[in-house]
Amino acid sequence: MAEPMRIRATMAGDVADVKVLMNHPMETGLRKDAKTGQLVPAHFIQEVTATVNGATVLAADLGTGVSKNPYLGFKVKGPKKGDKVVVNWADNKGDKNTAEAIIG
C-alpha cells in the first residue's frame, strides 16, 4: 500500500533545510465516491516524526485538513553535511512508511 516518499535535505549556512513529500490520499471521511455515492472512509496520516542522526527533531500530529500527498518542510540548526535524516509516518489504518536522506 504505502508508496515511496521523497525526501531532500540540503544545508543552507548552518541550517539544514528538509523537504518531504509523502504519497497518501488523505481522505477526510466526508467525501463521496462519484460512482457509488458511498462515503469514502477516512484514511489520513496521523503522525510524522523526523530524526537527525537518531535524535528527534520533529514530532507532528496531522489531521484530515492536510492536503493529499502531504508536503512538509522544516529547518534544523546544527547538523552537518553527511548527517542522516529519517522521516517516518503512520496513518489511521496502521500503514507506515519511512524514508531517509543524507544531508547534502
Binding site: T28, L30, E47, V52, L72, G73, F74, V76
Partner: protein, 155 residues
C-alpha cells in the same frame, strides 16, 4: 501435568480477554500505536481545538509570520508557511478556522529545529488561517485571512 494444564487454561483466558477488549473498542489499534490527540483533531470549533492542545488565551504576536496566498483558487491545496521568531518555540499548530474540524496539524519541534513549518492544507471556505505557537510555557498566536474560491473539503 496438572500444573501445565492450569497454565494453558490461564493463557487461553488471558488472550480471550484481550480479544474481547479490542472488540468492545476499549483498545483501538491506533491507541496502542501512539497518542494522537483525538480530542483536539475532532474538535468542531477553534476553542475546543485549542483546549485539546492545552492552550488557553494565546497572546497575539507580531513575531509569528504566516505566508499563505491572499486568494486560493483551489481550497484542496493551500500552501502555508509559518515562521516563529519567538525564542524557544517548541510547537506550532496550524488551524483553518472555518473548516469542519479546524485543527490541521500540530508540529512539535525539538533538537535544533527552527520555528518554521511549511506545508499544504485543505480549506473548505474563506477563513482565517491561524498559527498557535508554544514557547517557554506560554502560547502566542497570529492569523491571516485566505479567500477560497473553490472549497477543498469534498465540495
Amino acid at each position: 501435568m496438572n500444573a501445565l494444564r492450569r497454565n494453558v487454561l490461564k493463557s487461553a483466558a488471558g488472550a480471550g480477554a484481550v480479544a474481547v477488549a479490542v472488540a468492545a473498542g476499549l483498545l483501538k489499534p491506533t491507541q496502542a500505536m501512539a497518542a494522537w490527540d483525538k480530542d483536539a483533531f475532532e474538535a468542531r470549533n477553534v476553542g475546543d481545538a485549542m483546549k485539546g492542545l492545552g492552550i488557553s488565551g494565546p497572546a497575539d504576536s507580531k513575531d509569528i509570520t504566516i505566508k499563505a496566498p491572499d486568494i486560493a483558487e483551489n481550497g484542496a491545496v493551500v500552501p502555508v508557511e509559518v515562521t516563529s521568531g519567538i525564542a524557544g518555540t517548541s510547537s506550532i499548530a496550524i488551524i483553518a478556522e472555518k473548516n469542519g474540524t479546524p485543527l490541521v496539524g500540530n508540529f512539535n519541534l525539538s533538537g535544533g529545529t527552527q520555528g518554521f513549518i511549511s506545508t499544504r492544507i485543505k480549506m473548505g471556505q474563506t477563513s482565517l488561517v491561524r498559527a498557535v505557537v508554544k514557547a517557554g510555557g506560554k502560547s502566542y498566536t497570529a492569523a491571516k485571512e485566505v479567500k477560497v474560491t473553490i472549497g477543498g473539503c469534498g465540495g
